[in-house]
């Protein structure tokens, strides 16, 4: 097989002259590459600013006309002039909360298992599988939710209602399988691989000598994990959780159909139907007729954008702290 160098030399006529030409050409390669990198970074920043600008610009009509009203109005019902964001915000936060309550402990348990207990070969196999899960398009999760999770919940929900849990009010209402709970569950599955993978990485960054020192003090595996490894990885895990949170907040689109599309009131229970910011945008855009309707929907998008940016920022800060803490440059 011919090497790249041979190709280049050959293309420029071969021999020494070709080689010299190639070197002088390479002298420019480094600065050129640096400028290209800077340009790309600037382009990303510019795109962010432009995106914010477009969102603000297009929602300006709603911002000026409605003021703060959407933020303290529940119902989204443009036909009667009600542009409430609360039903959407509520759905977004509750489904995300359910997702995190399910996913975080599970992800941490799996990550710890992978790092501390499972045989390295098995750990790598499971780790790769989990990383592949993270790459599945979210709409697939959504479909899977409708065709698998909903039918299961239709059987499980009546059973939950018959247990003492059913009396809590959290599980009241007709058990039709569509609503806040399945959306939360699917979101949990979507962010689980994500949080697991990052947590596994930060737990893996705990220096061997520190763990050995822990065992050397007469600690059990559990004690070393809980008191030393976990603390070492804590800021990184916090970063992972916030990354997952940001993702769950934005990814509600995949569960738009699972939520049931109830826009004009807050859900009464976990089994009730509702909406989320992205679900409202997706399902209401086609019906938005007046300019104000469209503008208000875009304002919803702006709100979601700002919220996820904040969580991204928090995540980055915590992850940076984790790297400083472990002295790792990973």
């Amino acid at each position: 097989m011919r090497t790249r160098e041979a190709d280049i030399a050959g293309a420029s006529g071969g021999g020494r002259a070709g080689a010299r030409l190639r070197r002088s050409h390479l002298k420019l390669a480094d600065p050129a590459f640096r400028w290209l990198t800077i340009l790309c970074a600037a382009a990303v920043a510019l795109a962010m600013i432009a995106l914010t600008g477009v969102l603000v610009g297009n929602s300006w009509l709603a911002i000026t006309k409605l003021g703060l009203k959407p933020l303290h109005t529940v119902a989204w019902a443009p036909s009667i002039g009600s542009y409430g964001a609360l039903s959407s915000l509520f759905g977004t936060f509750v489904t995300t909360l359910i997702a995190m309550v399910i996913a975080v402990p599970l992800a941490l348990a799996v990550a710890l298992l992978l790092v501390e207990l499972v045989h390295p070969v098995l750990s790598r196999v499971i780790g790769t599988t989990i990383e592949m899960l993270a790459a599945i398009p979210s709409i697939i999760f959504g479909m899977w939710g409708i065709f698998v999770v909903v039918p299961i919940l239709q059987k499980v929900e009546p059973w939950i209602q018959s247990t003492p849990l059913g009396r809590l009010g959290l599980f009241s209402g007709p058990p039709i399988g569509i609503g806040i709970l399945p959306a939360g569950i699917i979101l949990a599955l979507m962010v689980l691989p994500f949080i697991t993978a990052v947590s596994r990485d930060v737990l893996g960054m705990v220096p061997t000598v520190v763990k050995e020192a822990g065992f050397g003090m007469g600690s059990t595996t559990f004690e070393v994990t809980r008191r030393i490894s976990f603390r070492y990885a804590l800021s990184g895990i916090a970063g992972a959780v916030f990354l997952g949170l940001g993702r769950a907040l934005g990814e509600t689109m995949a569960v738009a159909f699972l939520l049931g599309g109830v826009f004009d009131r807050l859900p009464h229970s976990l089994l009730d139907q509702g909406t989320s910011i992205s679900a409202t945008i997706a399902l209401q855009f086609g019906e938005a007729t007046k300019p104000l309707d469209v503008s208000a929907l875009i304002e919803l998008g702006l709100i979601l954008f700002l919220i996820t940016m904040v969580f991204q920022l928090v995540a980055q800060v915590w992850l940076a702290r984790a790297r400083r803490m472990t002295g790792s440059r990973a």
């Binding site: 045989h119 763990k211 020192a213 050397g216 003090m217 007469g218 600690s219 004690e223 008191r227 030393i228």
Partner: protein
């Protein structure tokens, strides 16, 4: 195959002074804290120690010297069975500690590791405050009230000659201390658990000369109360701090005995070559 440190010491080797003559009682007469009999060690199929036998004397400092890769760390890592954290590592033979063979099954590893503390080459503070670092072993192994805990922490820091430097920093992270302080923090942390033996694996190789001097001084102080085993590739250090020395070569103990004897009158040619830096 010798390390650079060994080469450097060649020039000064004749001037090595052995300071512990006054404590050098007859080697055989003293009670042993640890007796190693026919110790073999395996990394997978690779054998790293070959039938080693060694006496570690009570409340004395034993230095383990030898070229890099000769099995010094491997050897002391059998004393607290820390090697068992890794699946493919295995030790056979006997290590007697207070009338029991610790390599036998049924050894309480958690208590063994409390009674035999270990200091590593790299300072290894836990990711918590100075106070919590020292309190770690105390909380693990003893039931203490808050004030007792504070007393024990202070006591351990004093015995590790660190109290004056950190008494106003107890709430700061252990990782914020200097390298030398971190290493003494590790010693204090081990001391707090009330061990009988302290193992040190090249404790000074990652810190500066001033900090090293402090640790050597500390070792001298601690040896009245604890049995200390120190691995070092610095022969002057071995000569300065130890009562007894064992010279390792390629997984075997070539010679062990009084430090004075090993350094001034080695019996084996290999030992002499290593001590004088004439090593090939």
């Amino acid at each position: 195959m010798t390390e650079t440190t060994t080469d450097r010491s060649a020039a000064v080797a004749p001037r090595i002074e052995v300071a512990t003559g006054q404590r050098a009682v007859e080697f055989d007469a003293l009670p042993s804290k640890l007796s190693v009999r026919g110790l073999d060690f395996f990394y997978g199929k690779e054998q790293a120690l070959f039938g080693n036998t060694l006496e570690i004397k009570e409340k004395r400092v034993t230095a383990i010297i030898g070229p890099s890769g000769c099995g010094k760390s491997t050897h002391i890592r059998t004393f607290n069975r820390i090697y068992e954290l890794y699946r493919n590592q295995r030790a056979t033979g006997e290590i007697w500690f207070d009338g029991r063979n610790i390599l036998a099954s049924g050894t309480d590893l958690l208590d063994l590791r409390r009674r035999i503390g270990m200091i590593f080459q790299k300072p290894s503070p836990f990711p918590m405050t100075v106070f919590d670092n020292i309190a770690y072993g105390l909380r693990l192994h003893f039931k203490l009230s808050r004030s007792e805990l504070a007393d024990h922490v202070e006591d351990a820091l004093k015995r590790a000659a660190l109290w004056d430097e950190v008494k106003h920093k107890l709430k700061e992270p252990g990782l914020a201390l200097s390298g030398g302080q971190q290493q003494r923090l590790s010693i204090a942390r081990a001391i707090a658990a009330e061990p009988e033996v302290i193992l040190m694996d090249e404790p000074c190789s990652a810190i500066d000369p001033v900090a090293t001097a402090k640790i050597e001084e500390l070792i001298a102080q601690l040896s009245s109360a604890y049995t200390i085993v120190i691995v070092t590739h610095n022969m002057q250090q071995a000569a300065r701090v130890s009562d007894y020395t064992a010279f390792f070569f390629e997984g075997r103990i070539v010679e062990a005995g009084l430090t004075t004897q090993i350094f001034e009158n080695p019996q084996r040619k290999q030992t002499e070559d290593y001590i004088t830096g004439r090593f090939s």
